[in-house]
């Protein structure tokens, strides 16, 4: 009894600490900005009239439905891209599986505004593809037009969320399940559909819900395609315009947050009441089958086609970084190394800062995300669900709102020497960590859902304390998922811009994304920006490759141990 008391006391302390962290670095800063939505303009009296205005304005209603449509369609297309890759690389003896996993992750590493610039050059109205089509066959395809253009770019950009989470989930499935089904006569696609896919559902849902919310809240891609009639761009345009104190931008932010929370809630409902946990953990995931020669050709063709599509932005960026002038022609006029020479002297500071900020932020995210997942799924603390919801709202808080909130909440707090707290680089790290927390959280959540609680009960029956069980049983078994969370948070943190742009106080503290932004804002300097972009992608890719390797090794090591 006494033991149980300390247990829940420990859990409660942990929960309170996390709540405090979220309160100070998410809820309070955002609240200082968002409360405007509930006040009358000019007067400051509390009111809900702004929400009524929202519902009565055609533009906002139209934007809302456009956002819903784009987000849903993006999930569909992103799934279509991710499923074959995840299936082929986890289910079969597939040479280069790790390479495919790493390359498949790269689109997330592309700072969105850079990717869209490169894609315009390739797929735009007068991009390479359309110029060639027009020259040969006299027609053009509107890849990048309107809402469909947004779906096209978003599906390419965000499908790794599904790929990573689904692959991690597939690897975690107990091989015995599959074998049992095979013994009962099931095989092939039916086996995948009836056994593997349902068991991997938590991973898929984690990825798909992230994609939905991210696309719903993304500002950069629609705006680069000049699509403004979506909800997040509407909020952004209003919040960042000068001279007008307009509550509607904040009203939309509240709506965005509401949609994010509702999505997370709905995805939890889908998984509710079913048990995805499997007890045996040593099998290293699904059995891998050898591909027959003909299947093999088909499989490689599919993989190469998908990779060619999703890596198109990187190809475009690479070309741009070497291009002298690229204007209304399928390929650049000439090639040069000058852009790389130009960014070389600045980039070391940017790179150093990026690695520092992203690794710290991702470490914070994995620690907090893992803890929240544990508290929600394994304890009975009252209100634990709120931690999950609060953390998930970070997905929907526009970066610029968080940035302004941080300035408001922390700029007045002075350090002993008079510099404001918000001017410290650690504040950038915290902002990035908050922005990327939901990624790690979803990954941790999915990982824990796949672990049977009976393993922990066994450990406790053998006399292990709760803390020891967590340390020796839960965390090791979650490694794959946590690592997926770390990698996702790290890689996306490396290209975070909107909040950073508000908070960077000096070039000395600026990360790569800021440098990219600065270099891209000029007609003469896009080559230099692209060069820095290529450097950013390579660095993050190398870091991810290392992490991927570590994940694979640990998986294999554990497979042998047991």
């Amino acid at each position: 009894m006494a033991l149980a008391g300390t247990r829940s006391a420990g859990q409660a302390t942990l929960a309170l600490a996390i709540a405090l962290f979220l309160g100070v670095f998410l809820v309070v800063p955002v609240a200082t900005v968002i409360y405007v939505a509930f006040t009358e303009k000019g007067g400051g009296a509390l009111t809900l009239i702004n929400f009524l205005d929202f519902a009565r304005t055609d533009l906002f209603v139209r934007s809302f439905w456009n956002s819903v449509y784009v987000s849903a369609m993006t999930v569909v297309w992103a799934s279509a891209l991710a499923l074959p890759l995840a299936y082929l690389t986890t289910r079969f003896e597939f040479r280069g599986a790790m390479l495919v996993q790493t390359l498949g992750f790269l689109p997330l590493v592309m700072p969105p505004f850079v990717g869209a610039v490169a894609m315009q050059l390739l797929f735009g109205r007068n991009g390479s593809v359309n110029l060639l089509l027009d020259g040969w066959f006299d027609f053009k395809i509107g890849f990048m037009e309107g809402l469909n253009g947004v779906i096209f770019l978003q599906a390419i950009h965000y499908f790794p969320f599904i790929l990573v989470n689904l692959s991690a989930a597939l690897r975690n499935i107990d091989r015995a399940m599959e074998e049992a089904a095979q013994n009962l006569g099931s095989h092939g696609l039916r086996l995948f559909r009836r056994i593997a896919l349902p068991l991997a559902l938590p991973g898929y849902i984690a990825g798909a819900s992230l994609v939905f919310v991210k696309v719903f809240d993304d500002v950069a891609t629609p705006l680069l395609l000049n699509v403004k009639e979506m909800l997040a761009p509407q909020a952004y345009l209003r919040i960042t315009s000068i001279g007008i104190d307009d509550p509607m931008g904040y009203v939309i932010s509240v709506v965005l947050i509401g949609v994010a929370v509702a999505t997370m809630w709905a995805s939890a409902q889908v998984l509710k009441g079913k048990d995805y946990a499997t007890t045996q953990r040593g099998g290293g995931g699904l059995a891998r089958r050898k591909l027959k020669p003909r299947e093999s050709v088909l499989a490689y063709a599919v993989v190469i086609l998908i990779l060619a599509l999703v890596l198109a932005p990187h190809v475009g960026l690479l070309l741009l970084s070497f291009a002298t002038v690229w204007s209304f022609s399928p390929l650049p006029d000439g090639y040069t190394l000058a852009h790389y020479a130009r960014v070389l002297d600045d980039s070391s500071v940017y790179i150093k800062n990026t690695l520092l900020y992203s690794s710290l932020a991702a470490a914070i995210d994995v620690a907090i995300g893992g803890a929240i997942a544990y508290l929600v799924l394994r304890t009975r603390l009252p209100g634990r669900q709120w931690l999950d919801w609060a953390a998930s709202t970070a997905l929907a808080v526009p970066g610029v709102v968080l940035g302004i909130g941080y300035l408001r909440a922390f700029y007045g707090v002075k350090l002993p020497d008079g510099t404001p707290l918000a001017a410290l680089w650690i504040v950038i790290v915290l902002a990035i960590a908050i922005r990327r927390l939901p990624y790690a959280l979803r990954a941790a959540y999915a990982a824990l859902q796949q672990i049977s609680v009976s393993l922990e009960e066994a450990a406790e029956n053998l006399g292990a304390t709760k803390a020891r069980t967590v340390r020796r049983i839960v965390v090791p078994l979650m490694t794959g998922g946590l690592l997926a969370g770390f990698v996702t948070s790290f890689a996306t943190a490396a290209v975070e811009l909107s909040a950073v742009l508000m908070l960077v106080q000096s070039n000395f503290d600026a990360p790569l994304a800021y440098g990219l932004y600065v270099l891209m804002q000029t007609p003469a300097g896009r080559g230099a920006g692209a060069a820095l972009g290529v450097i950013a992608v390579i660095i993050v890719a190398v870091c991810m490759g290392v992490a991927q390797l570590a994940a694979d090794r640990s998986q294999r090591a554990r497979g042998l141990d047991i």
Binding site: D53, N126, E229, L355, Y411, G412
Partner: protein, 442 residues
């Protein structure tokens, strides 16, 4: 687990190692918040640090809007010395919020006026250091491939060949475009000016939310023509892009400015930077291919390359419109919101109506028909119709709707809904007239 904790600890360790090198203060540090790109700030930073030994220019790059917001949010504990940007209206906003401190530059030989716009703020809160004018840039390859004409005047962009080939940034997002629109409105009058604006808008391919988006689209050949500030075109030419630029006769030159932020931590350094910008060395740096602003020191043009525009000599840049900054200021929010509600967010219906009218005009040229001509005129008038007059735009009621003042007759959101509904209805009526006319001439 070992792996994961290794990754996490490496992360933290990396953090601590790198952190050690990440913070030390500089003496002589001058901090500037600017919207100018690295192409502009880089050479000027270098020249400034050479001219003033011991000084270090710390550049914080933010777009104009974010910069204003930043100064506003951090005023209680300001760490910034200078604000440095193009749009005079951003400086007006800062001045209005008491975020600037006055300074009278000591430099001599600076023109009082460039074009017909005073170089310095009359109250001394900010100083112009370079001039820029608005005009049309185009991509020569695009124009040649699509067999399109070369524009001279704003009105040219409203004609049929330009349909779906023009780009502009939203005035609510770009101080420079706001001035372009305001220039057209002041030059041609409220109703005629809006008519021109909407006729051009009917030919738009896109309305970007960043002023930089326009030269980018023209340079890469995604659109043919862009309405831009001159240096976008000049620096693109400097970088080798096949683009051309023209100043229409209704344009205005306005200064790009620099101002000292109120409670600047290094006021002396801030003053030194302003003096440097206005010095011969600072002004000559503006001629660099990546910068290409028009200096405010007339003698500097002696060192400019051939063909460089000279507002103090060139005939087409003399006697330009006198820009009325107060009038502009009085209706800024109304003009921007009108543009967004009538054009940006109604672009599809506007383009559909415009296209139909272009078709009618083309058909009429082949076969005249008085009735169809009358219908087409009605269609054009419907497009040009405005929900409010010039007087209303600057009225206290409308202004209060945007500032939240007491006199408002409607909330901003209500006004926006009214205006967009107005535009939608007029454009679909215009399309109906055009379709009717088309039946008569076909």
């Amino acid at each position: 687990m070992v792996r994961l904790s290794a990754v996490v600890t490496t992360g933290f360790a990396l953090g601590l190692v790198l952190a050690a090198g990440a913070a030390f203060a500089q003496t002589g540090k001058v901090t500037v918040v600017t919207s100018f790109s690295k192409d502009v700030t880089g050479p000027l930073k270098k020249a400034f640090e050479k001219a003033v030994p011991g000084a270090i220019l710390e550049v914080q790059n933010r777009n104009t809007n974010a910069g204003v917001k930043f100064l506003e949010e951090t005023k209680a504990n300001n760490q910034v010395d200078l604000f440095w940007a193009s749009a005079p209206d951003a400086f007006e906003v800062l001045k209005g919020k008491k975020l600037l401190s006055p300074y009278k530059p000591k430099a001599t030989g600076i023109a009082e006026k460039v074009g017909s716009y005073p170089v310095n703020d009359k109250d001394g809160f900010y100083s112009g250091f370079a001039a820029s004018g608005y005009g049309i840039m185009w991509n020569e390859r695009y124009v040649k491939a699509n067999k399109l004409p070369t524009p001279k005047e704003w009105q040219d962009l409203a004609t049929a060949p330009y349909f779906d080939h023009v780009s502009i940034s939203a005035p609510s997002r770009s101080g420079t475009t706001h001035l372009t629109i305001e220039t057209i409105l002041q030059g041609e009058g409220w109703d005629k000016g809006w008519r021109t604006t909407k006729e051009i808008a009917g030919n738009l391919r896109q309305v970007t939310d960043r002023s930089f988006g326009v030269p980018e689209a023209v340079n890469s050949g995604q659109v043919g023509y862009g309405i831009v500030i001159d240096f976008f075109a000049f620096s693109s030419q400097g970088a080798g892009f096949p683009v051309k630029f023209v100043y229409p006769s209704v344009t205005t030159l306005v200064p790009a400015n620099v101002g000292i932020v109120a409670n600047a931590p290094n006021k002396a350094g801030a003053e030194a930077f302003i003096e440097f910008l206005l010095s011969s060395a600072g002004q000559e740096a503006l001629l660099e291919p990546t910068i290409r602003r028009l200096p405010v020191r007339p003698e500097t043009y002696g060192k400019a390359p051939a063909g460089y525009p000279n507002p103090f000599k060139d005939k087409n840049l003399q006697g330009l419109l006198t820009f009325n900054a107060e009038l502009s200021e009085s209706r800024t929010a109304a003009v921007d919101t009108l543009f967004d509600q009538l054009i940006t967010f109604q672009l599809e219906p506007l383009k559909a109506a415009t296209k139909a009218l272009h078709d009618v005009d083309a058909a009429l040229a082949n076969k005249d028909n008085a009735q169809a001509r009358a219908l087409a005129k009605e269609g054009h008038d419907l497009i040009a119709a405005m929900p409010i007059s010039a007087a209303q735009a600057a009225s206290p009621e409308i202004r209060a709707a945007f500032t939240g003042g007491k006199q408002k007759s409607a909330r901003q959101a209500e006004l926006e809904q009214q205006w967009s509904a107005f535009a939608k209805e007029k454009y679909s009526a215009a399309k109906a007239k055009a379709d009717e006319a088309l039946k008569l001439v076909r």
